[in-house]
């Protein structure tokens, strides 16, 4: 029991240290410097990398859906996004694509 609480506090420390360091570094970094441009680009690349990994190589509950259904959902969401520039419509299109492939086609 105590060990689990210690684990939770360590997990907190393991995340909080990055946030804290981010404040320290962010405070000293000039706006629009090359470093801050690079940090933003890498952060965006990493976050969308993580998300694409969930789409292509998921774990847990998502892994019980088919790769086809997830790729169709991604494709439809992107097409609708580029076509009518509406986030809600794009997400709904993705959802419909996912449901259609999972329950009606496969």
């Amino acid at each position: 029991m105590i060990e689990l609480w210690i684990a939770i506090l360590l997990a907190f420390a393991g995340t909080f240290c990055w946030r804290f360091l981010g404040v320290i570094i962010g405070d000293r970094l000039p706006q629009e410097s090359l470093v801050s441009v690079w940090v933003n680009a890498v952060a965006y690349a990493m976050v969308s990398g993580v998300m694409m990994l969930i789409v292509v190589f998921p774990s847990g509950l998502v892994a019980s859906s088919s790769l086809t259904s997830r790729l169709v959902a991604l494709f439809l969401a992107l097409v609708v996004m580029l076509w009518c520039r509406n986030m809600l419509m794009a997400a709904l299109a993705g959802l419909c694509g996912f449901i259609a492939v999972t329950y009606f086609i496969a």
Partner: protein, 254 residues
């Protein structure tokens, strides 16, 4: 939120406006998605033998899905405390980049806020709220963007806690079909936010990282996120600098 899509600047005459906008924007896809993700986390945590206070404390304190899941699953596997700490720190390392980026987007280094407020704001930062300000950035003044973020991120934080609470009790009868559909839509939604980032360079970096990481994954495993992210981001910035220099004539000052 449909209004979240407009790119036109919001007049800066009413200080309450950005806060309200942020609050309402959160009660949409982002709120539903964070709620469902935390339902999923609570189910894993309960399996791992966490009681309710522990599960809630993990969401409240760690507030980063990959780290939370890494912690719960390593605990099931009986990993040592050192391993848990290292794994969580690695899984949530992108928080460093995201908080530097969030600080920069909101110009928090300009001395308008005491240090503790900045730390608190960054504690509230999660992927959802970070991609959100990356998209609406420019519509608000910098102080306005801070208020927008405070409103948005508070609601997201609260819905995350509610989802954790609900998931702990309801995961037995919550329909796995519905939960799975929401969990499938979450990464799509974040990807849609990425390609709508206000800064073009960040959009391109997002596309590059999204393409590179799955290609590297079979070889590098979890390291593909770090290595692929750094490689993609660096290449895009270098290409951009090269292109800028080529179009303005070589040899300009750094």
């Amino acid at each position: 939120m449909l209004s979240a899509f407009s790119r036109s600047p919001v007049p800066d005459d009413n200080p309450a406006r950005p806060l309200n906008d942020g609050v309402w924007a959160a009660f949409s896809i982002p709120g539903v998605s964070i709620f469902a993700n935390m339902v999923g986390f609570a189910a894993i945590a309960r399996q791992a033998g966490f009681d309710l206070p522990m599960t809630l404390a993990t969401t409240l304190l760690v507030w980063g899905m990959p780290g939370q899941v890494a912690m719960a699953s390593l605990h099931i596997a009986g990993a040592s405390l050192l391993v848990i700490f290292t794994a969580v720190a690695l899984a949530n390392m992108r928080m460093l980049l995201m908080s530097i980026s969030g600080m920069e987007m909101m110009a928090l280094n300009e001395g308008r806020h005491p240090f503790w407020q900045k730390v608190l704001l960054m504690q509230m930062l999660a992927i959802t709220s970070w991609v959100q300000i990356g998209m609406v950035e420019g519509r608000y003044s910098k102080p306005g963007l801070v208020r927008y973020f405070a409103g948005f991120a508070s609601v997201i934080y609260a819905l995350g806690m509610l989802g954790t609470l609900a998931g702990y009790y309801l995961s037995d009868w919550a329909s796995p079909d519905v939960l799975r559909a929401v969990l499938v839509i979450t990464p799509l939604y974040i990807l849609l936010m990425v390609i709508n980032a206000r800064r073009m360079l960040n959009r391109v970096a997002g596309v590059a990282g999204g393409a590179l990481c799955p290609v590297l994954y079979p070889v590098l495993g979890e390291w593909s996120i770090l290595i692929g992210g750094i490689a993609a981001g660096t290449m895009v910035v270098m290409a951009d600098r090269f292109w800028q220099r080529a179009s303005t004539g070589a040899g300009g000052p750094e």
